[in-house]
Symmetry: C2
Subunit: 140 residues, 2 copies
DNA sequence: TATTGTTATACTCTATAACTATA
DNA sequence: TATAGTTATAGAGTATAACAATA
């Protein structure tokens, strides 16, 4: 059975990404969160007051798709959406959101450390700069 | 605006993967193909007679989701599904499928070369082994 | 005029269960 | 018993268009 795609970096990139995300998802779902939600909690924790659209821009999630996600986190009592600008909503975590964000942070940290350790030492430090070169939107 | 995720290899892996796949998709759609379809054409070209489920196993696509994809390629006259085993369907490309597979191959080759060239030379050769270490299903 | 948030909608991808027929 | 293919279905994720309110 020949796999002609095994030598394509783009293909292997996708497979590695899918596998990693699936694994993280199973670890984060025990906290009642999806990976995207965990990501949002982390970013809002670090950037209290950030607007929904600014958050969406960071994560490449469009305004229209951001709305139900943010509304769900608010409905669960994890996040508040406070009118800041008149048209903008500033996001901040509730105490419960802060607590959950910290738990998610611990899970993600552990996972990322494991991921890194799976890479043979001689290649380890090269992964991040290589990936960043393939991710165009790293101007911010 | 602080992005606390920028130092997570898993996160950057996902962003790089998404960006690369989106770019490839725009190049391959002009052939009337999705990336997965192009992938299938390439694999069937290299492995004529491969069964639907074996193909699905290679690509991590479940049997149930493989059915409509293969049926669509057959309906477009790109692929044939021949009963081989009694319960299995052996896949092979039609001449038109072969032709399109070659065009797709050229697009993918060019894209993958460009991808590789975007990586700074000192990191370039490390990407593939690092990614393979993160992709568990590389036993075949 | 441009931006923010919202609603509605559609399409893709993925996951599961249940069924048949074959090995 | 296990495998191959199918059907139906549901859940995510993503994309676009249109609208009201505000800058």
């Amino acid at each position: 059975m020949r796999d002609p795609l095994l030598h394509y970096p783009g293909y292997v990139l996708r497979r590695a990404s899918t596998a990693a995300m699936a694994e993280l998802a199973t670890r984060i779902v025990v906290l009642g969160l999806r990976t995207t939600e965990a990501t949002i909690l982390q970013i809002v924790a670090e950037n209290p007051g950030i607007s929904q659209s600014a958050l969406g821009r960071m994560l490449d999630i469009q305004r229209a798709n951001m709305t139900p996600i943010a509304a769900r986190l608010e409905a669960r009592g994890l996040m508040r959406r406070l009118p800041s600008d008149g048209r903008s909503l500033g996001l901040e975590l509730t105490p419960e959101g802060q607590q959950l964000a910290e738990k998610a942070q611990a899970v993600v940290d552990a996972f990322e450390t494991e991921l890194t350790n799976r890479i043979p030492p001689e290649h380890r430090d090269h992964l991040m700069p290589a990936l960043l070169a393939l991710w165009p939107s790293t101007d911010g």
